[in-house]
């Protein structure tokens, strides 16, 4: 939509362009949005829509100084095997200049199963670290000062349980809860939408998250009790606009839920954080982040009445797109990751994870993850992009894209409101179906060759070199099972039973906060599976009706 007159000479350019040959390509973004040949001052939004960094509506960045003041946190996701192996990898990454920790859990831990459950067969320590109980959490952070290093934990359905283990582990190492800095992902709505890791039905799962947000707002002022995520929604195949819209709508839903509990919006909103994907379509991603900040700020201020400017800030972590990595010619992934990381930086992310080149094949080797970390360090220290704030501000193309994606997000908000809000929309599988359709569409484009993926459906010569891969020793599964059984054997069963009993009674009362009961259960050395099963006796579990 043109807001002003085209510049002088534009007609002549148009005439010259019309008679120039055009490449045989589709000129759409990865999300299928058409891109014009040229953007000019006619496409540029008003100055007040663009604004200034650290000032409402924050299109140009959440802080006045951004990377001139402090670089983004380099936070590589890591985890495999038992707590011992991951502790080693954490220390390797810190030694190599990483500035924050990020924990990847294995499938059993993510799904609330103990390592010795029959459901955990073959999965223990494979996709992340196995954490069954408090003792594992203590080993995980051995030798790391939790009062100094901020820690992120990517766990969702059983997040409140893991947080309890973390708080007690820190407490036992001499760091009180109110000094702990970090994030727990905990964004349960996006599980039903995209990542598909669940333990309980939607309503009690929302209650559990609400309990954690409420408890953290008074007990853990430096902690982010939720990381409202679009990463997984995008990985499942959504468009950029869907990623933006569904993530923000999930966020608004959590805000509404907390308000319904009687919290003041300014009591918890400053600690909400976000997590976005950095996909390969460079400018679309940058526009997405800028639009996200603007939308969040406006809604928090205008719709939810937040008065504290900190409540208006959409602060986010970014991860480069796992789904963009190819198994063919894996070294090309270094290039992809670098470009995606650059988009995150130019979009003003607070924290960044860069994928390793071998991650279409396995968890990363030490060498591969070092290259991924070095990629961030090169961007930070060699390229000069961090010398100025929001360098693409005022770009005709980027501002036009920012406006467009913002408008698309609003269209989705309206649609979701029509369905009765996000929880209802999820129960009706609306976002799930949008994602299924978008991912099918994209796959058709790739399968047909209309969209090129280098090394996969084009430029396929050059494959075949052996890539060294990380192998998880299968013996670690038994090692973890033995650890778990040893703790069960030596712990006092009285406190275990008492704490689980109290937890079940509290779970049946929707108005009680479960965090204190989870902390008691943690101190009694209950295992995650025991806690989840206790809660499932009260709440049941979740069965998805898949759409495709």
């Amino acid at each position: 939509m043109l807001l002003r007159q085209p510049p002088a000479g534009e007609k002549e350019w148009r005439g010259a362009y019309k008679v120039s040959p055009e490449r045989d390509a589709s000129f759409t973004t990865l999300s299928g949005e058409p891109v014009k040949a040229l953007y000019t001052e006619a496409d540029l939004a008003d100055a007040e829509r663009i604004g200034l960094p650290g000032a409402y509506p924050f299109t140009r960045g959440v802080y006045p100084s951004m990377y001139r003041g402090r670089l983004w946190t380099m936070r590589q996701f890591a985890g495999f095997g038992t707590a011992e192996e991951t502790n080693e990898r954490f220390r390797y990454l810190l030694d190599h200049g990483q500035t924050g920790l990020s924990t990847a859990f294995d499938m059993p831990s993510l799904m609330g199963h103990d390592s010795d459950s029959p459901r955990s067969l073959g999965e223990v320590g494979r996709e992340g670290v196995a954490i069954d109980m408090l003792d594992d959490m203590e080993t995980l952070f051995q030798g790391i000062d939790l009062g100094e290093v901020s820690v992120s934990m990517t766990i969702n359905a059983p997040a409140a349980i893991m947080l309890a283990y973390y708080v007690v582990a820190a407490e036992r190492s001499g760091v009180p809860a109110d000094r702990l800095g970090g994030t727990i992902q905990a964004d349960i709505l996006k599980e039903y939408i995209a990542q598909k890791e669940w333990c309980f039905p939607i309503d009690p799962a929302m209650r559990l998250l609400g309990d954690m947000i409420e408890w953290c707002s008074s007990q853990m002022p430096r902690w982010h009790p939720v990381s409202i995520s679009g990463y997984h929604i995008r990985e499942a195949g959504s468009t950029a606009a869907q990623e933006l819209a569904f993530t923000l709508k999930d966020g608004f839903t959590y805000v509404e839920q907390a308000l319904e509990r009687g919290l003041d919006v300014d009591d918890f909103a400053p600690r909400l954080s976000f997590f976005f994907n950095a996909q390969i379509d460079f400018f679309e991603e940058i526009a997405k982040y800028r639009a996200a900040r603007r939308i969040w700020a406006r809604e928090l201020k205008e719709t939810y009445g937040a008065k504290d400017p900190k409540s208006w800030l959409m602060r986010f972590h970014t991860q480069t797109a796992g789904v963009s990595l190819t198994a063919q010619q894996p070294l090309n992934n270094i290039t992809r990751t670098a470009i995606e990381a650059l988009a995150g930086v130019l979009g003003g992310t607070q924290s960044l994870h860069t994928n390793s080149y071998d991650e279409a094949l396995a968890l990363p080797t030490e060498d591969a993850v070092r290259i991924a970390l070095r990629t961030q360090q090169i961007i930070a220290h060699e390229t000069g992009v961090a010398n100025t704030i929001d360098p693409l501000g005022g770009s005709y193309f980027v501002e036009a894209l920012t406006d467009e994606i913002e408008a698309k997000a609003h269209a989705y908000f309206a649609k979701i409101d029509e369905l009765g809000g996000m929880v209802q929309a999820v129960k009706q599988a609306y976002p799930q179906r949008e994602i299924a359709d978008a991912s099918y569409q994209l796959q058709q484009e790739i399968d047909s060759g209309r969209r090129l993926v280098v090394g996969v459906n084009s430029y396929t010569e050059g494959d075949g070199d052996e890539t060294p891969l990380l192998h998880i020793d299968p013996a670690l599964e038994q090692k973890q099972i033995d650890r778990l059984r040893a703790v069960r054997a030596r712990r006092d069963s009285g406190p275990v039973e008492a704490s689980l009993s109290a937890l079940k009674a509290a779970a049946a009362e929707p108005r009680l906060n479960l965090m204190p009961h989870l902390l008691d259960a943690a101190r009694a050395h209950t295992s995650e599976g025991e806690v989840v099963q206790a809660l499932q006796t009260v709440w049941g579990d979740y069965r998805e009706t898949p759409v495709f």
Partner: protein, 101 residues
Amino acid sequence: MEVIYTGLHQTPEQIVETLIQEDADAVGLSILSGAHMTLVPRIIDLLKGQGVDNVLITVGGTIPQDDIAALERLGVAKVYTPGTTTQEIIDFIESAVIPRA
């Protein structure tokens, strides 16, 4: 050909039960977690234990090259890694399945 999608987080036992109940000609197992060298052999063993030997087994996901040969030796007909087109999978299954009379 009828396709039944069982949904996520199925155990080997649940998968084998479904294959038998539905009298399936073929199965596509998708594993992204890296646990394929435990779970696929387990499914194959369970099928053998039930006397089922005529289901075409295909596997897809995050499968390193080294494991492909091992899976094929166990009886997996095809392993699909990232980048495989949908049509390739369809063509193979349609040609390889021996329809029941």
